[in-house]
């Protein structure tokens, strides 16, 4: 069973959060809060020292998580523990390749097998993926594809051939947390992706509020949204008060669950 194969048809909600942020024990509380809303997908960011594709907010979250020497094993253990109450929520790991390679690809997969449904390896392009993809698919873990506005049609077709889970469409050329949303362009590209593949297309990067979520659903053909930086930003807005943050997080998730 892979929860990603039974995602709803429309209005899919995926929530991203960095593991071990701000500390391991507080991170558990945050994920439990997220899980209590039963979103369709939770993305677990594994902190990396050099998150090339991430903006300042997720960078800061990574830095905080790593400042208490969080290990990859601790992150994976946290995900395993949370999976006991996962129900229909799909678990997806989002990470950089060096984390997986250094841990050992086989050992990594063994640790997440039957727990995690999909994985996004941000800096593993199609050209470099074949070996890891094989090992993942043997263990029923989907390698989720990122598509950017720079990916042309021919390349997208190549990338999406027998892809599984969902398509992560990067809504703005930019790092996580960037703000410009061009609905016209998003719609055009999402439409074209939907012609190439049957799996859902989720739009991520730069989605911040209920308003953004509604606009995406109204103005584009996307099947859902991914929210990350906006969830983390609240923690800094609230001057790193974890109790206030948990309340604000609950409120924000309720809002975006339209």
């Amino acid at each position: 069973m892979n929860n990603l194969d039974t995602l709803p048809k429309k209005k899919i909600l995926s929530l991203f959060m960095t593991c071990g942020f701000p500390t391991l024990s507080q991170s558990k509380k945050i994920f439990n809060e997220m899980l209590s809303h039963q979103p369709d997908v939770i993305e677990f960011g594994l902190p990396f020292s050099d998150p090339m594709a991430d903006g300042p907010i997720i960078q800061e979250a990574n830095k905080l998580a790593l400042s208490s020497n969080l290990s990859t094993q601790q992150s994976l253990n946290l995900i395993k523990e949370l999976s006991k109450s996962k129900n229909n929520t799909s678990f997806v790991i989002m990470c950089y390749l060096n984390t997986v390679r250094k841990f050992g690809v086989d050992k990594f997969i063994k640790n997440i097998k039957n727990i995690v449904d999909g994985i996004i390896i941000v800096d593993l392009p199609f050209e470099e993926e074949s070996e890891i993809k094989k090992s993942l698919s043997k263990n029923n873990i989907h390698l989720i594809k990122l598509i950017s506005p720079m990916t042309d049609k021919k390349r997208a077709q190549k990338l999406l051939k027998d892809s599984k889970g969902f398509i992560y469409y990067i809504s703005a050329t930019g790092i996580t947390g960037s703000n410009k949303l061009d609905y016209k362009e998003i719609n055009k590209n999402v439409k074209s992706l939907k012609k190439m593949s049957k799996i859902p297309v989720l739009v991520g990067f730069g989605i911040k509020s209920k308003k953004d979520v509604l606009e995406i659903s109204k103005k584009t053909n996307a099947d859902g949204v991914i929210i990350g930086s906006a969830l983390i930003q609240k923690y800094f807005d609230l001057k790193m008060d974890i109790n206030k943050y948990l309340i604000a997080l609950k409120k924000l998730i309720k809002e975006v669950k339209v």
Partner: protein
């Protein structure tokens, strides 16, 4: 050894190299690779670049017999390949001219770069001034502090400097920020990477543009000595000046090649930048190569007195050359480099940058009273003007006295 022919078409030097970047950049890199392949065959491009090398940079740089230093070492005959005489004071300009011509051909209208010592930043700002393109330089705030003369130079040349406060506030973080800028501004921006690091095709492209150093040196030494050198020595940060000198000699099996890394306070300490001596293979800035990292693959901060060598990674081609044992790599400490910096200044009347001072330190240490009748070419890849404040402070010289 078979004839050396690297990288493969997918940018692999043995197992190293590759393109580990997000899908936002991937189409750009593939496009860059294609454009680069095209201009390699373009005679007009070659001519344009050679003209600039000759009339703007002042190439060929001379090959100077360092008589006094040779006498002091009491070993081999030492030649300096004097790329420190280049316009802007280092080898970095060779690569910047190549890349900006390519950027122009690709129709890009905005240039970004990272810089450590500021030499690559100055070289990039220079070519941007020459070609009239807006220039944005990412520089760690720690490096801004220790390379002030170059910061002012870049500003004079019209560049905008963007201080980087993340991580160790030095070269690694400047490169992260430059890559993020590129991801955000993919359509109009060309990223001029300053060393043989980063994703394919950069390591190959930068090496090719820098290999003018080795090509000239080979001709020059054959002319004066009627034979090839026995040793080549160069410092290695990301590895561009070293690859530039080494590459045209890789198939000359008798030429022994030595790369010198910055070992900071010692290769066995945590305060080092000697990636190949103390690191393990991993992925940084889009390329698989030796890196300084912990057991979880978190990249460590590097340390070196020389801002240009203060980088926890190294170009993939060097990693390959290390593994096939074609090049040997050694570490030199801050202290040793500072001593060589002074020795060379006094003996040869050439104030070297702190980067090649590492190569000099290794030469003095390892060749003292040895290898008589041998020939050495050392890449004098930069001059010391930019380092005067740092060196004065480290040596304990008070300019007001």
């Amino acid at each position: 050894m078979k004839t050396y022919k690297q990288p493969s078409t997918v940018g692999r030097f043995g197992e190293f190299g590759g393109m580990y970047v997000s899908e936002t950049l991937m189409p750009l890199l593939l496009n860059l690779d294609k454009s680069y392949k095209k201009i390699q065959k373009d005679k007009k491009f070659k001519k344009e670049l050679n003209d600039l090398f000759k009339n703007y940079v002042g190439r060929p740089s001379s090959l100077h017999f360092a008589k006094n230093l040779s006498k002091y070492i009491n070993g081999p005959k030492v030649y300096f390949k004097r790329d420190e005489l280049n316009h802007t004071g280092a080898h970095k300009i060779n690569n910047c001219l190549g890349q900006i011509l390519l950027a122009k051909k690709m129709g890009k209208t905005r240039i970004i770069a990272e810089t450590g010592a500021g030499q690559h930043g100055v070289a990039t700002a220079t070519v941007c001034a020459l070609f009239g393109l807006p220039c944005y330089i990412y520089m760690g705030s720690k490096d801004i502090e220790r390379q002030k003369p170059n910061v002012f130079r870049m500003k004079l040349l019209g560049a905008t400097i963007i201080p980087v406060e993340s991580g160790s506030k030095s070269l690694k973080d400047a490169m992260n920020e430059a890559l993020r800028d590129w991801i955000k501004n993919v359509r109009d921006t060309f990223y001029i990477i300053g060393s043989t690091a980063g994703p394919h095709p950069y390591p190959k492209m930068v090496r090719d543009f820098q290999s003018v150093i080795g090509k000239e040196a080979r001709e020059q030494i054959l002319k004066v000595e009627k034979k090839l050198p026995d040793y080549l020595i160069a410092c290695v940060g990301g590895g561009s000046n070293a690859m530039g000198l080494f590459y045209p000699f890789l198939n000359d099996k008798k030429v022994k090649i030595i790369g010198v890394e910055a070992a900071g306070r010692g290769a066995k300490t945590e305060e080092t930048a000697a990636t190949m001596t103390s690191g393990t293979p991993g992925i940084l800035h889009g390329s698989y190569s030796y890196v300084l990292q912990d057991n979880d693959g978190q990249i460590k901060e590097a340390h070196s007195i020389s801002a240009g060598l203060d980088y926890p990674g190294v170009g993939p081609e060097h990693s390959h050359l290390k593994d096939i044992k074609r090049v040997k790599y050694f570490g030199v400490t801050d202290k040793e480099a500072l001593e060589a910096f002074q020795t060379c200044s006094k003996l040869e009347g050439i104030i070297p940058a702190l980067e090649p001072s590492h190569a000099l330190a290794y030469l003095i240490k390892a060749f003292k009273n040895k290898h008589k009748n041998k020939l050495v070419i050392l890449n004098m890849c930069g001059r010391g003007d930019k380092d005067l404040f740092t060196a004065a402070k480290a040596i304990g010289f008070d300019a007001d006295e």
